[in-house]
């Protein structure tokens, strides 16, 4: 009988784990240097965490893994988390609400059902949340942090697609659709369904100047805004912030464009939404979600954040050569009687920074530069440098270490 892994789930093989770690280490390193603190939330949360704030579209909620826990006789369902921002917002309101400012980051998996089972149902992401700041500079900080991580990973040509949830909603209000239809269009855009916009434009061609164009300056934002004759002061100030962000990105020399239909993401976004692309591959995204924490019963705390999608990143990152590198790697062969000495010498070599493997039989490892044989009689150590084809007979650990270090 062949036992298979669960449909839609994924194994990470050694090469993939190396890429995985490469990403998480680059991400952790940057976050820590920018003054962010790492957190972790549980895999299981109550379903109502995601329904009560009204922050996930029905399209997403219909794909959650929800079930009854062993004590779920009350009908209270739990879910494998479909998103991490909402749990982090919960963590903040539960434990850190007394802080004015929290800069948090996480590395976590999320779960969403996908019918074919060919795409991953479990996905990984690295995310950062900046909670407590309303300034557009905070949004710029997050974009800059994300781009720095991606640069470290060798992705220099990342394109930023900018949009604004408030702006898109206001434009939809002007489209002549009723409220229910507007929500439907907005939800479809969040789910990444562009078909609905094309349908809308075919019925109301005047909307094509809004949804089909992609701008590259704050001027474009202002042109869009002129369309909204009765924008509220609140929306006006949000749009000023949006213009400001696009100006700063311009000055920083980032590659961005404004595309107001491109709001694929989460319903909790209230302000700027940014999506990160490497070529056609969407590798990350984020945005401002000022209403989420109050909707969860917390204080009126503004926040924004982003996540990098590790599954997509792992696909586009080249395999690292270093893993197969033999440099600094030693294999030890030993007789049973010299085991004690063999384990001791391996420990001292490892504490000097070498990777030391034992070889107890079968085919020996190929990715090593030294073979060390530990014998019973003096000289106890026979050291071979494989590529130089040199052999040394040595008596003490000190001599051995010196020989390796000097080669």
């Amino acid at each position: 009988m062949k036992i298979e892994r669960c449909k839609g789930m994924r194994d990470f093989l050694p090469e993939e784990m190396e890429k995985f770690r490469q990403i998480t280490e680059a991400f952790r390193d940057s976050c820590l240097k920018w003054g962010y603190e790492e957190v972790k939330t549980p895999t299981l949360e109550y379903l109502y965490l995601f329904t009560s704030a009204g922050t996930l579209t029905p399209g997403m909620l219909n794909r959650v893994y929800s079930f009854l826990d062993w004590d779920g006789w009350s009908g209270e369902r739990v879910v494998l988390r479909p998103d991490v921002t909402i749990p982090v917002a919960r963590l903040f309101t539960e434990h850190l609400a007394d802080r004015e400012l929290a800069k948090l980051f996480y590395i976590a998996n999320t779960f969403a059902f996908e019918e074919t089972g060919k795409k991953n149902r479990e996905r990984w992401q690295c995310g950062a949340e900046l909670i407590g700041l309303r300034s557009p500079l905070a949004d710029v900080e997050l974009i800059a942090l994300a781009l720095q991580v991606l640069r470290k990973l060798g992705l220099d040509n990342v394109e930023i697609k900018l949009s604004h949830a408030g702006l898109t909603r206001s434009i939809l209000q002007k489209s002549g659709l009723n409220e229910e239809q507007q929500n439907q269009v907005f939800d479809s855009l969040l789910d990444g369904d562009m078909g609905i916009i094309n349908h809308l434009i075919s019925e109301k061609p005047e909307l094509s100047s809004l949804f089909n164009l992609q701008g590259k300056s704050s001027g474009f934002v202002k042109n869009l805004t002129s369309f909204l004759t009765n924008a509220t002061p609140d929306l006006k100030s949000q749009i000023d912030d949006f213009s400001f962000i696009s100006d700063i990105l311009q000055e920083l020399g980032y590659n961005y464009r404004i595309d107001i239909a491109s709001i694929r993401g989460f319903e909790y976004y209230t302000g700027v939404i940014f999506q990160l692309y490497a070529g056609d591959e969407k590798i990350g995204g984020g945005g401002r979600y000022d209403a989420l924490i109050p909707a969860m019963g917390g204080e009126n705390t503004p926040a924004s954040g982003f996540a990098l999608y590790m599954d997509q990143l792992m696909q586009i990152l080249p395999a690292k050569a270093s893993a197969r590198d033999s440099k600094g790697k030693i294999v030890i062969k030993m007789a049973r009687k010299s085991a004690r000495l063999g384990f001791d010498i391996a420990d001292s070599l490892r504490s000097s920074g070498y990777i030391v493997k034992f070889h107890f039989g079968g085919k020996g490892p190929t990715d090593v530069s030294w073979i060390l044989e530990v014998g019973e009689k003096t000289p106890v150590f026979t050291l071979t440098h494989i590529s130089q084809n040199k052999r040394f007979h040595l008596n003490s650990p000190e001599e051995l270490l010196e020989k390796i270090q000097n080669n």
């Binding site: 329904t51 004590d71 779920g72 009908g75």
Partner: protein
Amino acid sequence: MKIKIALPKGRLLKNTARLTHYAGWDLEGYSEDARLYHLNSKRFPELNARIFQEKDIPIQVAIGNYDLGICGLDWVQEFLVKYPGSNLLKIKNLSYGRSSLFLATSPLSGYVSLNSLKTANQPISIASEYPNLAEYLALNLRLKRFNIFPIWGAAEIYPPENADVIILPADNEQQIFDYGLNPISKVLESQAYLIANKNSWATRDLSAILTGLFSSIETVQDASNDSHGHPNKKETRLNLFSNPDQWEGKIHLALPDGHAQKHVVNILEKAGIKIYDYPSACGNRKPRIEIPFIATKVIRPQDMPLQVANGKFDIAITGKDWVEEHLYRFPSSPVVNLLDLKYSRVKIVAAIHNDIPVNDIRSLRNYAISREWKLRVASEYVNIADKYARDHHLYMYRIIPTWGATESFLPDDADLLIENTETGNTLRRHNLKIIDTLFESTACLIASTESLRKPGSGVISTFIEKLKKAVEEA
């Protein structure tokens, strides 16, 4: 190779029988009083039909035990919203057996519209025979917080005390009003539907038997607009049957419907407790019981442990089997078994077909392993069956939930059966043998540890004392 089709009993049977008759299938014995569950066609020897509870049919077709099936669209959708990626394919509306699913609330509750549900800040409890549709609706209505209680039936008696919302089938709105409820939304229009297994549909030629079926659909269609009848009567009537006693502040007792009723009447009589209109000739589910501070409702015994665990009822008369079923699923549930009522004595057994050459569960396990045989375990008691299979390390097993008449699933549609039996006669008649007895079950009185602590719970102890005496005297 046989073409296998799953046909409904119950509501849709009469018209489905007419349809298959006009289609020339010539199925012998497909009638209301069918004793046989397996039917053959004289005209199409390759056709093999079997009669199921409607609710079982989508699962049987999806897992490929049957190529085709006929059942109400309501049960098809109940299955598909939970398993959109399954092998179930909707083929054709057969245009008879109209019924609608309504979302209904009590006029005594504050929930008068969908909007009042959406904006509610309290958790909303939803009871339904259609728990998957209920969850789907709750998510799409964007309810902030909700709890779903799957039930076996009698949904109409739950609101407002035992559920805020129910989703239930009815012929028309008037029927919901007649229950004393408000149909605040029609969720689904259902008619009989022909469904197919995707693989069968993609790879097999089923046209010979389907051509006749499709050309006969017109002969059994529903009259066109009877579901929109009674236009002037759309108002909630007070439920004529409901007794005027208050529910609030009382101890709530759940009594069983169905054939257990005669035993309950008997034991209440011995205990000197009078009860009126139970069993009820007119479908009254709120009989009056002559004990102060106790209010009763009649629901399915299967649903009682969950209801008691949630404090929707304080005490209930159900079976030990259903209590175990509940406790296996929810080990920390507050439900406690307070009194063995000593009637309805059955054994919960594991049974297999006589053709399988083993006689105990260990041998069955080894037999299955040696043949790489993925055991299909059919049971009304899915949690008991699952635990039993786990405890006995039953190789790669699968649980098939059923809704009654489980013995007829063997040997074609399941391999192992976990079922209750009084004498074993039914099992023997189906050529089955018992290979293990899990436990013995009798009727019992249950409560929750919470309800025993609540003020006024003295009434419970008095009630139990009376029943205890009656049991001892019997």
